[in-house]
């Protein structure tokens, strides 16, 4: 997967996270915190994660590879990691 594709995926993460913010649609920065800055609560995080999985066709990741997310940047890294693993496995 090329750097361009990965950058596109990261941009897509930012777009979806911003679009689904409980505070209303916005353009988040990578350093924005998902809960504190973008207003996500537990159910909104589940909704956002499920939408991301559908839109980006994400697979389940191994437990040892799972990272938690506080900021939008963490979420971008997680998604890119999943896409890289899928690329390596194919």
């Amino acid at each position: 997967m090329s750097a361009v594709d990965l950058e596109h995926a990261a941009a897509e993460v930012r777009r979806l996270v911003g679009q689904m913010s409980p505070l209303g649609p916005r353009e988040p920065a990578s350093e924005d915190r998902i809960i504190e800055d973008l207003g996500y609560d537990s159910l909104a995080i589940v909704e956002m994660a499920m939408t991301l999985e559908t839109e980006l066709d994400l697979d389940r990741i191994p437990e040892e590879a799972a990272i938690d997310v506080v900021t939008v940047k963490h979420l971008e890294e997680l998604v890119i990691g999943i896409l890289r693993r899928r690329e390596d496995a194919s």
Binding site: L43, E63, D68
Partner: protein, 319 residues
């Protein structure tokens, strides 16, 4: 030692419940379904699916209890019990009418009829409820059968499963970011009705225990709560497990919160009917049934249930 009836908190009599029913009427036709139809179209697919899944569970439960109450009415132990139970079957019919009208209004009735994701309830729990109430007709002179059926119906189907799903559905509906006034009002009305039904179940089971029928009551209760635990886990229904760890934990916490409400009810019911000595054993049976259902889920889908996936991730704080 179990408490005597005099030591237990007061519960309303059948006569008082009849009077409360007369004072708490509501009409399906008066609810603003058109407003919900407009709001429903604004829901994201995530919220719509979640809400529809919960409503589907409540709808299936209401249909089943409407179809299985009559043996308890026919062989009620007192005229007051029979009068009260006749009000209850009217309630159950109204609840079915409410969900039918709601699902029709929001355009989801076909989805509900086509759905096959309530297998555990329809294939395991509901047949057991039918057997329990049907057994009353086979041996009407045996009061133990009537009490066993009432326990299955009122204390497990309604006071454990019904209360748990109704509560989580109401909470969920309140977090949806669009107005659904008919659903809010309808579920509030249902909750009020269910409160009377459960009061009756507690009062009659307490009387059964006091009259020496504690053994069949406890046996029926234990068997039914094991099935209820299985229904709540849903080993035949795939449960979404988000890839994002924070979302997976949130999802698991939401599910475990629902199971916790049910487990608390399982224990509390026993205390209220004078069988508090049995709480530990019954709660253990509940936990074992839940774990067995989780094992079956994993065997069916080849992956752990989201609750177990979240447990495997550990309870570490977000970085």
């Amino acid at each position: 030692m179990s408490a005597t009836a005099d030591d237990l908190p007061a519960v309303r009599s059948a006569e008082a419940l009849y009077t409360a029913w007369e004072e708490q009427h509501w009409s399906v036709g008066a609810l603003p379904f058109a407003e919900d139809a407009a709001g429903w179209n604004e829901l994201s697919s995530f919220w719509r699916d979640e809400l529809l899944g919960a409503i589907r569970e409540l709808h299936a439960g209401e249909v089943a209890v409407t179809e299985t109450l009559t043996p308890l009415i026919d062989f009620a132990h007192t005229p007051a019990d029979r009068n009260y139970l006749c009000t209850q079957i009217a309630d159950e019919a109204r609840h079915v009418a409410f969900f039918d009208a709601y699902l029709e209004a929001v355009g989801a009735i076909a989805d509900v009829r086509a759905a096959a994701d309530l297998a555990t309830y329809q294939d395991v729990f509901e047949p057991a409820l039918r057997r329990a109430t049907g057994a009353v007709r086979e041996e009407p002179a045996d009061p133990g059968r009537w009490y066993a059926a009432s326990v299955h119906y009122h204390l497990v189907t309604e006071a454990v499963l019904g209360v748990t799903v109704l509560r989580s559905t109401r909470q969920f509906a309140r977090r949806v970011r669009v107005e659904l006034p008919a659903l809010e009002q309808g579920l509030t009305n249902l909750a009020r009705d269910e409160s009377r039904h459960i009061s009756f179940g507690l009062a009659s089971a307490r009387r059964g225990v006091a009259d020496g029928h504690g053994e069949p009551i406890l046996e029926a209760y234990t068997a039914a709560i094991k099935l209820a635990a299985r229904v709540l886990v849903g080993p035949d229904r795939r449960s979404a497990a988000p890839v994002v760890p924070a979302a997976l934990r949130a999802r698991a916490a939401q599910i475990e919160g629902q199971w916790g409400v049910a487990r608390d009810r399982v224990a509390r019911n026993l205390g209220l009917i004078g069988l508090e000595d049995a709480v530990d054993g019954v709660v253990t049976a509940w936990d074992e049934a839940r774990e067995a259902a989780l094992d079956d889920y994993e065997a069916t889908f080849g992956a752990p249930h989201p609750v177990r996936q979240a447990q495997a991730l550990g309870a570490g704080a977000a970085r």
